[in-house]
Symmetry: C2
Subunit: 185 residues, 2 copies
């Protein structure tokens, strides 16, 4: 039985770092974590929907993948488009806005919205909402100081070979989802 | 064009926090990130395989899910079993050891090892290796001060309803992978 005791912020910033103190059947346990949010009590943990991950398909069934430069790995990485949910936005609205901004594509149908999922649950309390949509339009690159994104329309065959290209970086959520599709054929 | 300039450690700990400085076509960009590793240069980013995520199936095709208490969300969370890769271990060896420790199950076949995937690429440089295995044996709970894990053998029907249970926490890698299976039927 793990019982929350207290939280202490150890560093500020966009990524706030905290030390959580739990009681584990009488044993004190300290756990480091980061959050985008102000964590003052247990109730603040995983209390905010921070982002959407967008699983977008074209009308012919092909999937949309983005290849984005990621500072944390100093390399480009293939992924499903993602974006922060702005205050007052629904996940569906955030998905449509982010897709337009990052890829130029229009959402013509929201097919499915999954419940908020725990992203990196070992190290942070971020909740991400996976949104499945159908898209249409012309893809355009997105480029500024912080974002450098190219979009790709990928057939099952192209996904199959992407998963087998040595040295290509892919996010784990995207890789596992594509691998499951690939397995099922 | 993003060019790495320098890295500065801003906090120590199990989760080390860094500030990366990039040049983005002449504009200086600062990016906060965390890492489990010592990052002294660009070459250190995403240079270590830190963990495995284990997609385990029983011989009848059911999937293995774990439900683990996660300090960062102060709640239990359904997920595929995961674990750190110990020095000198292959991902396959780490997967077999972690499964035995956390679930009591034995790996009878390694079905597929995916390339290292970027985990939480927006905030850290961790690389996780997804390992697909077939398992056999009796499931037993895992319980100590840091881990509290129950294992579940789940049919496609049980996965279908798990994805629709309100308020249930599931990791995003697990949720997206299961949703893809569920989509394909």
């Amino acid at each position: 039985m793990k019982t929350f005791r207290q939280v202490r912020k150890t560093e500020n910033g966009f990524l706030k770092k905290y030390e959580l103190l739990y009681d584990a059947d009488g044993t004190p346990v300290r756990w480091e974590m980061i959050s985008l949010n102000e964590i003052r009590s247990a109730a603040d943990l995983a209390s905010t929907l921070s982002a959407v991950e967008i699983i977008a398909r074209f009308e012919d069934g092909d999937y949309l993948l983005c290849r984005e430069f990621r500072f944390a790995v100093n390399d480009v990485c293939y992924e499903f488009p993602t974006g922060m949910i702005e205050p007052g936005e629904t996940p569906q609205q955030a998905a449509a806005r982010e897709l337009k901004e990052e890829t130029g594509l229009d959402v013509i149908r929201v097919d499915r919205v999954l419940p908020p999922a725990c992203y990196s649950v070992g190290i942070c309390d971020e909740l991400v909402v996976p949104v499945f949509v159908t898209v249409r339009g012309d893809m355009k690159p997105c480029h500024d100081a912080y974002e450098e994104i190219a979009s790709f329309k990928m057939s099952p065959e192209q996904i199959h070979s992407l998963l087998r290209q040595p040295g290509v970086k892919i996010t784990e959520t995207c890789m596992l989802a594509l691998a499951m599709l690939d397995e099922k054929g």
